[in-house]
């Protein structure tokens, strides 16, 4: 079985699988919620790579946009909002010293890698994300399935999203005076305060 696996495929799989596993273990073991969220991003990216490797380009893009772009940002937002990250400030007191050159090194390496990837196709074996796989575009096949066979579930998900948005608004808003009596009482006390102030 190993003999028929091409070298780029094997290297891509091993690298992505390692990144996914390390990230998953990091999510479980790291004590700091922000670190766990960043490890989650690593796992999600690795899974997106595995999606591309299996010819699911559209899902890989959606994975990066929805998970890494929206869901993890939401996580980080809530972590910051609740102040659970008190054990670490954004700029630690002993400022970054040896991390800075290493970070710059990684940035340069990624830039070189990206420029190589835009030139040729040797690394991934495909021409572009929207290119045809086995003669038919992945997005076209997926779209045909979603908008014909699975049209009803697709419409149901829109209802689900509306319900989720309403639920989030109802759950996270600060409860105010709801009945008319409470409202009237509130207005009365406001009027009194104004009189006292005046």
């Amino acid at each position: 079985m190993l003999a028929v696996v091409t070298m780029p495929d094997l290297v891509t799989f091993i690298a992505a699988a390692l990144a996914a596993l390390v990230g998953a273990v990091g999510v479980v073991t790291l004590r700091h919620p922000v670190h766990a969220a960043l490890m989650l991003v690593m796992t999600l990216f690795a899974i997106a790579v595995l999606f591309v490797e299996q010819g699911a380009q559209f899902l890989a893009a959606v994975q990066v946009i929805v998970y890494a772009g929206a869901i993890v940002v939401l996580f980080l937002f809530v972590i910051m909002l609740l102040g659970v990250d008190k054990r670490e400030s954004i700029m630690p007191k002993n400022a970054v010293t040896w991390q800075l050159p290493i970070g710059l090194l990684f940035v340069i390496a990624i830039l070189i890698e990206l420029s190589i990837l835009t030139k040729g196709v040797w690394a991934t074996g495909t021409h572009s994300v929207t290119a045809a796989v086995n003669g038919v575009s992945n997005i076209a096949v997926l779209a045909r399935a979603v908008f014909t066979t699975y049209l009803l579930p697709f419409e149901a998900t829109s209802v689900l999203l509306v319900v989720a948005v309403l639920g989030a608004v109802v759950l996270s808003r600060i409860p105010r005076a709801s009945t008319s009596e409470e409202l009237a009482l509130e207005m009365e006390s406001d009027a009194k305060e104004e009189v006292e102030l005046g």
Binding site: L21, V27, V28, T43, V78, Y150
Partner: protein, 101 residues
């Protein structure tokens, strides 16, 4: 030829197991949520792998719907966490036992 599907399935099983372990051992609700996302992603990987092995697009459509449901779930779940935090000032699972029968 690409890597055999069984490898992907083994990887997905490992990810699912790590996520389940995390939900069981961690006490911070936010990290429990992240472990839940990990488990959902492991299932997504399984679906895509079977979609390739069986040459059927239905698996990828399933992943599409799982993504939508996961987004909705995170929105509602984080809303719940924020509203719990407003009353209790802490988000560890040990402190939330008001539903205990």
């Amino acid at each position: 030829m690409s890597v055999p599907g069984s490898w992907y399935l083994i990887l997905a099983a490992a990810l699912f197991g790590i996520g389940a372990f995390g939900i069981l051992v961690r006490r911070n609700i936010l990290i429990m949520f992240m472990c839940l996302e990990l488990m959902l992603n492991a299932v997504n990987l399984t679906l895509v792998t079977y979609s390739r092995m069986l040459n059927d697009i239905a698996g990828q459509v399933g992943v599409f719907f799982v993504l939508v449901v996961a987004a909705a779930e995170v929105v509602v779940g984080l809303g719940l966490i924020v509203s719990i935090f407003r009353g209790k000032r802490q988000v560890t699972a040990d402190d939330l036992h008001i539903l205990r029968g």
